[in-house]
């Protein structure tokens, strides 16, 4: 029997299509989380109050897709961790795979998931509008045009960043179970220490690095480079992982 020669791109393509079906349950959890977020948003995602101006007491309730976008980012993070667990990771090796192809197809899958998540998150702002408008007409409502394309694009990027982070975290945990304790401890420890010292620490700086960036081009570059680094880190680390169990 003659040997088959395969190319990496070919295998990655086939694995990607395979994963779209095999990992389809993540999209169910996306729906659930987004609906939950819409629910939470129904009492307003923020409010402003106060007696501004002296004779007028103002109470403003704000509605937006903020919660939905945040939940979607969380979903991206969790999904990425999920697909690094044994059960999912080893699915590839029944068929044709090596670690690079497996990682690449995972990355493409996560990108697809980010796109889907970003689009639905932004569209859900219309759902929220309709619900609030038709069912909660108690107070006058101000409308603002929704920047759909910009919103979709930026949300996709954010979700993808969180996917990259989750993938690295998941890979680390696969390499050594110790990270299940180490990573959360390091993260929360840093948060607490920074909170106590009162100074702006690393976590706050990282936060600002992305969330206060006002130039779209710079933002895109930041996200792509960071996600690239996180994924590369995960790829390199997982290259020596054996397929056990």
């Amino acid at each position: 029997m003659s040997l088959t020669k395969v190319s990496l791109i070919d295998v990655v393509k086939k694995q990607y299509i395979y994963k779209l079906k095999a990992y389809s349950q993540v999209f169910m959890s996306l729906i659930f989380l987004q609906l939950l977020a819409v629910l939470f948003s129904m009492n307003g995602v923020g409010s402003m109050g106060g007696s501004t101006g002296g004779s007028v007491e103002l109470q403003v309730k704000y509605f937006s897709a903020d919660f939905v976008a945040a939940f979607t980012m969380l979903w991206g993070f969790i999904t990425a961790i999920l697909i690094t667990t044994k059960a999912y990771r080893n699915d590839d090796f029944v068929f044709v795979a090596n670690r690079i192809s497996s990682n690449l197809s995972n990355a493409v899958f996560l990108l697809t998931a980010s796109v889907v998540g970003g689009i639905t998150a932004m569209l859900s702002s219309y759902l929220l509008k309709v619900i609030v408008n038709y069912f909660f007409k108690s107070t006058p409502i101000l409308d603002a045009p929704i920047e759909l394309l910009l919103g979709i694009f930026s949300t996709i990027l954010y979700v993808f960043l969180f996917c990259a982070l989750g993938y690295l975290v998941g890979t680390l945990v696969q390499i050594s179970k110790a990270f299940t304790v180490l990573l959360p401890a390091a993260f929360f420890g840093t948060l607490i220490l920074e909170g106590l010292s009162g100074k702006a620490g690393t976590v706050a700086n990282v936060f600002d690095f992305f969330f206060t960036e006002s130039s779209l081009v710079l933002f895109i570059v930041k996200i792509i480079v960071s996600a690239g680094l996180l994924f590369s880190g995960a790829f390199v680390l997982s290259n020596r992982l054996e397929v056990r169990g």
Binding site: S24, F27, M28, S64, N133, E147, G151, T155
Partner: protein
């Protein structure tokens, strides 16, 4: 809390829907139906997207109507109005040029030589007081309250601004801030990922509130001496 009941009901509906969906999807793993799991997921997800798209259409076709017919205003125009009113007041021309902003008039009879003027309980008066001395002593004090338009987030809320309260009592003319009027409304804004590019303030929900200029214009008899008891800061027309 009026919103709680419909909120609770919707919450129950959404959560039970979610649980039912999750269960149904899980059960189908072992069910011998015609569709496979991934096909079912595809269907449910398409349904979800369809619902979202319907909402988009709904929102575009029936845009959110502003209840109470608040009008949109240009804050720059309002600013100019405010400044102009103040200037005309000081110039004494307010009766003519500021007439569209006249909100309330009072008339008092007073024959004394001196009049205490005070703000009740020493409170800080939100309105500027401009005093014009008439050419003669007619024992009448005319007060007129002018206010330019106020807006919040670009919407006209002038109707909520009330004039101050005036009372001629034994110890003088008492001025009092109006009862606070409460304005409640909701606003749709963009996602934070959009706001970080289009606005300056991330995480902040800006409320652009401009109250307009309020002027209490007093026309007093020529020789009446006003004694400012509570540091109201009276401005006299030249």
């Amino acid at each position: 809390m009026m919103l709680m009941v419909p909120l609770l009901i919707t919450a129950i509906i959404v959560i039970s829907l979610a649980i039912l969906t999750a269960r149904a999807v899980n059960k189908t793993v072992f069910r011998k139906g015609k569709f496979s799991y991934s096909q079912r997921v595809c269907l449910i997800f398409s349904g979800y997207v369809a619902v979202l798209l319907i909402c988009v259409v709904l929102d575009t076709v029936y845009p959110v109507k502003i209840v109470n017919e608040w009008k949109k205003v240009d804050t720059k125009v309002l600013e100019k109005e405010s400044i102009d009113l103040y200037d005309t007041a000081l110039a004494g021309k307010i009766a003519k040029e500021g007439s569209e902003f006249l909100r309330k008039k009072w008339n008092f009879d007073y024959n004394g030589k001196q009049l205490n003027i005070a703000a009740i309980q020493d409170e800080y008066l939100n309105t500027s007081v401009v005093v014009e001395r008439k050419n003669h002593n007619d024992g009448k004090i005319e007060a007129a309250y002018y206010q330019t338009r106020s807006s919040v987030n670009g919407m006209d809320i002038t109707e909520f601004a009330h004039p101050p309260r005036l009372e001629l009592a034994e110890n003088g003319l008492l001025l009092r801030n109006p009862k606070k009027s409460k304005i409640k409304f909701s606003e749709f804004t963009n996602v934070f990922s959009v706001k970080q590019f289009t606005e300056e303030d991330f995480f902040g929900h800006d409320s652009h509130f401009s109250e307009g200029q309020s002027i209490l214009y007093l026309r007093i008899p020529k020789d009446l001496e006003l004694i400012d008891k509570t540091n109201i800061n009276l401005n006299y027309v030249e």
